[in-house]
């Protein structure tokens, strides 16, 4: 029978191997489930997890999907390290896009290099403002940020619906619920002519490196980790958990808001009711797949981006339903949490005498 033994020290091998094991288990179980449902399970898994990497023409799409995931997950991971559970990045992502779009609509008749930076700034501030509400409620009233941040997501979604159907509706848009298209000065520059690769992709990598430096090399990152691991020791060392709660929620909100603005000013080019794509929720999986390590998150973002890109491929090749993408992502989170026990426990088969 299976025997579980607590390790004396957490296994550093398993710390890095368990996300890979989780990915492999997700592929295996996904294959079994879809075969049982009557699909071609083998090809489904191949198209979702391998084809996006094997076909170079898919790579730009991979980067476009990975960039917002990585950006949001970086902010979330910093909070998770401090035991601040911001589950509402999706709402902050939407609010960032709304705030940036507000700037875009206000500057519709203008031109200038400063418009896009102003939109980005508004995006950051919009996300921060939305995250400030859970921060305030937790610090002042000890309200769980898990509930407040999650619920605020739905408020943000309704706010978006109202704006695109009401005051921000494109006057020349044949009554479609959407804003005007952004002007060239309001759109993220494309890096390679004719491709989708926009400025957000290299920026996500730069932010990952900065986040890594902050977490590993500064007392600010140290404060975040101490507050998460040992709150009493943090107080003893003179670190304020209230400050850390504020800072991590604002950082998470700001990055999610920036990602939202980049999405609006990049692939979308306007706001529509289809804007909330669930990146804010998927980023939670990215953060854990990357082991809450900023550099690991880049890897995690690429894997989750593959499930989006591959999910679309599998829709045409194996006629998989669109919901399959979400199922694979959920399965991956489940496997990640399950394999995490390998870090602290050793399992072995033991034949027990009767």
């Amino acid at each position: 029978m299976l025997e579980w033994r607590r390790r004396r020290e957490p296994s550093s091998l398993m710390l890095y191997a368990s996300p890979l094991i989780a990915v492999l288990l997700t592929m295996l179980i996904g294959m079994i489930v879809f075969t049982a449902m009557g699909y071609d399970g083998f090809h489904a898994v191949r198209d979702i997890f391998l084809t996006p990497f094997l076909e170079p023409q898919r790579w730009p799409d991979l980067g476009v999907k990975a960039a917002p995931l990585v950006m949001i997950a970086l902010g979330l991971a910093i909070g998770f390290r401090a035991n601040v559970w911001n589950i509402g990045a999706e709402g902050q992502y939407i609010m960032g896009a709304i705030a940036g779009t507000g700037v875009a609509l206000a500057t519709y008749d203008m031109t200038g290099w400063w418009i896009l930076p102003a939109m980005a700034l508004a995006g950051i501030l919009g996300g921060m403002a939305w995250a400030a509400i859970p921060a305030f409620l937790r610090v002042k009233l000890q309200v769980s940020e898990i509930l407040t941040s999650l619920m605020l997501t739905y408020v943000a979604v309704q706010g978006l619906y109202y704006l695109v159907r009401g005051p921000w509706k494109d006057p020349d848009g044949f009554n479609f619920p959407q804003t005007r298209m952004f002007t060239p000065d309001q759109t993220l520059p494309v890096l390679a002519e004719g491709s989708l690769i926009h400025l957000g992709i290299p920026l996500a990598l730069v932010i990952a490196v900065i986040a890594w430096l902050v977490m590993e090399k500064t007392t600010a990152g140290y404060a975040v980790k101490v507050v998460g691991l040992a709150p009493a020791a943090a107080r003893h060392g003179g670190f304020s958990s209230d400050t850390v709660t504020w800072a991590t929620l604002l950082a998470g909100g700001g990055l999610a808001g920036l990602a939202g603005l980049f999405e609006a000013a990049g692939p979308f080019g306007q706001l529509t009711p289809q804007f909330p794509t669930g990146y804010g929720f998927t980023a939670i999986i990215v953060a854990f797949l990357g082991r809450l390590n900023p550099l690991g998150i880049v890897f995690g973002g690429i894997v989750l981006a593959a499930t989006y890109v591959g999910g679309e491929i599998a829709q045409t090749t194996v006629k998989l339903p669109q919901a399959a993408t979400g199922m694979f992502q959920a399965l991956l989170l489940f496997m990640l949490l399950a394999t995490d026990v390998l870090v602290r426990y050793r399992i072995s088969w033991k034949v027990r005498a009767v």
Binding site: R8, E9, K217, T219, Y222, V226, A233, G237
Partner: protein, 518 residues
């Protein structure tokens, strides 16, 4: 004991060649010992010497890899604590397993292996309390009892089973001197009725007072068997730690310097749910002196430490003066920068982060006074050098600055934490339970460092339950009882009985509500 000894009577408990290994450690190696009926036998050794493992084997919690156990002359196997109790083995653990919200009699009923009618149980408990003259009210709720009274519940639990062998694990670590004396009387009476007692401790004078045989363990092996009444305390200590004991050297001319830390009418609400309010605590600590604060745990010790460390703030800046500057409203970091260092009692999770390396743990409290993180950027090289210097100077046994704090034994981690604070040359060091759970060799080293720090002109405040430690270290002593602090008295003018009475709550004429002059 006074009863006649007959050679033919087999020993109550005899262990032969017991060995037990855990991955990476030989906890017990070829241990043999025997205890006669009516004998009080000491099991002596430092933390990690293998006492706990051996006792767990006897009580059926763990199983020996090799060796045999015989009971009244017959070889037995003890697969579980229940089997141990059936044989007649009772054990009083160092940490009690009692439900605070329930009464004494309810707790006793819960601890029994079989259901006993409440009235019958009451009568049996009353009989035991009476025959051993133990003061204990069976109807009182446990949370209202002192530690000594709680221990009596555990003893009564054991006595109900009419034990033939009673194991006492470090029973005096939290008792006042009066409670210790009372416990010893009870134990002597139990032994005189033919029950063998295995008494685990590292307090040598207690063993001299109580026991008639001692087995000394070191590194999992028996290093000596002796009669503690004949052997000198120093010799037993040296056998226990395997080296010559360092005597603490007090440098002459210490004390009587300027006031470095002055606390005036410091009041603070207790930490929920069972905290004790500090009520108008006042004292001065002077350059060059060690001020001892005695008292049984739970009388406001942790509140006093967090109030001094800055983890909780005073209500006015003048409540705490450091070298004359008001710091009552300064946070923990500012107080450290100003020169007030504190070491709380709890090492893991309070004084140190268990999942951090020793190097990272030095950043926690040393970054204010040492340039470990200039402009917020951690200077990795300087951090490693500082951690390494603490490890060397304080003889911390570890693999290096990269070792996780949780991988160190309690004593080694405490040496590291003390070294981290002393290495910053604080103006005032406040330390709670500096040698709690620390082996004798490390404890002596830590105490010497405290004395040396005071000799260099710092003021040292030691909050401790261990009276021997305070008597050895302190120049002046006061007692914290129910959140109130007595006026300090010079150690030389105090008798141990007097301190015991102060600890137990009987305030003498020395009780203070504001006066701080010794």
């Amino acid at each position: 004991m006074n009863q006649p000894r007959e050679q033919e009577v087999p020993p109550r408990l005899a262990l032969a060649h017991i060995s037990k290994s855990f991955p990476g450690v030989k906890a017990n190696e070829d241990i043999s010992l025997s205890v006669r009926p009516g004998e009080i036998h000491a099991l002596l050794g430092e933390n990690g010497a293998g006492k706990s493992t051996l006792v767990k084997i006897i009580y059926g919690v763990q199983h020996a890899d090799e060796g045999t156990i015989s009971w009244d002359g017959e070889t037995v196997s003890i697969p579980s604590p229940k089997a141990a109790r059936r044989l007649g083995i009772g054990m009083v653990f160092q940490h009690f397993s009692l439900f605070d919200a329930m009464t004494v009699i309810e707790n006793i009923a819960l601890g029994l292996d079989e259901a006993v009618d409440r009235e019958v149980l009451k009568a049996r408990v009353a009989a035991i309390l009476d025959s051993y003259s133990l003061p204990l009210d069976p109807e009182r709720a446990v949370h209202t009892l002192s530690v000594g009274e709680r221990q009596r519940i555990e003893i009564v639990r054991c006595l109900l089973q009419k034990p033939k062998l009673l194991i006492m694990d470090e029973p005096t670590s939290v008792l006042t001197p009066q409670e210790v004396e009372r416990l010893f009387e009870t134990l002597r009476q139990i032994a005189s009725e033919g029950c063998a007692i295995l008494y685990i401790s590292h307090k040598l004078h207690e063993i001299k007072a109580l026991c008639e045989a001692a087995t000394i363990l070191r590194g999992g092996r028996v290093v000596a068997t002796c009669d503690p009444k004949l052997e000198s305390t120093k010799r037993m200590a040296e056998l226990m730690i395997g080296a010559e004991l360092r005597q603490i050297e007090h440098k002459p001319g210490a004390g009587a310097g300027a006031v470095r830390l002055s606390v005036q009418d410091l009041s603070l609400a207790g930490e929920p749910p069972f905290g004790t309010d500090l009520e108008a605590v006042s004292f001065d600590a002077r350059a060059g002196e060690i001020l001892g604060i005695a008292g049984v745990a739970g009388n406001g010790q942790s509140e006093l430490l967090t109030a001094l460390s800055g983890e909780r703030l005073a209500s006015s800046p003048d409540a705490i003066l450091l070298d004359g500057r008001p710091i009552g409203l300064h946070g923990a970091g500012q107080r450290r920068a100003a020169g007030l260092a504190c070491v709380p009692e709890e090492r893991n999770g309070h004084a140190a982060v268990p999942d951090f390396s020793l190097a990272d743990n030095s950043i926690l409290t040393a970054r204010h006074r040492l340039p470990l993180a200039p402009l917020g950027f951690v200077a990795r090289g300087d951090v490693l050098r500082f951690a390494q210097s603490v490890i060397q100077r304080f003889d911390v046994r570890t693999t290096g600055p990269g070792a996780l704090a949780r991988s160190l034994s309690g004593g080694n981690l405490q040496k590291f934490i003390m070294g981290r604070e002393i290495g910053q040359q604080p103006a005032v060091l406040v330390v709670s339970q500096p040698t709690w759970g620390v082996d004798a060799g490390a404890a002596a080293a830590i105490r010497q460092e405290l004395v040396d720090l005071a000799a260099k002109g710092s003021a040292v405040v030691v909050i401790s339950q261990d009276l021997d430690e305070l008597l050895e270290l302190a120049d002046r002593l006061c007692v914290l009882n129910e959140g109130r602090l007595s006026a300090p008295r010079a150690i030389a003018s105090l008798g141990i009985d007097e301190i015991g009475l102060m600890m137990g709550g009987v305030h003498g004429a020395g009780e203070s509500t504001g006066a701080t002059h010794a």
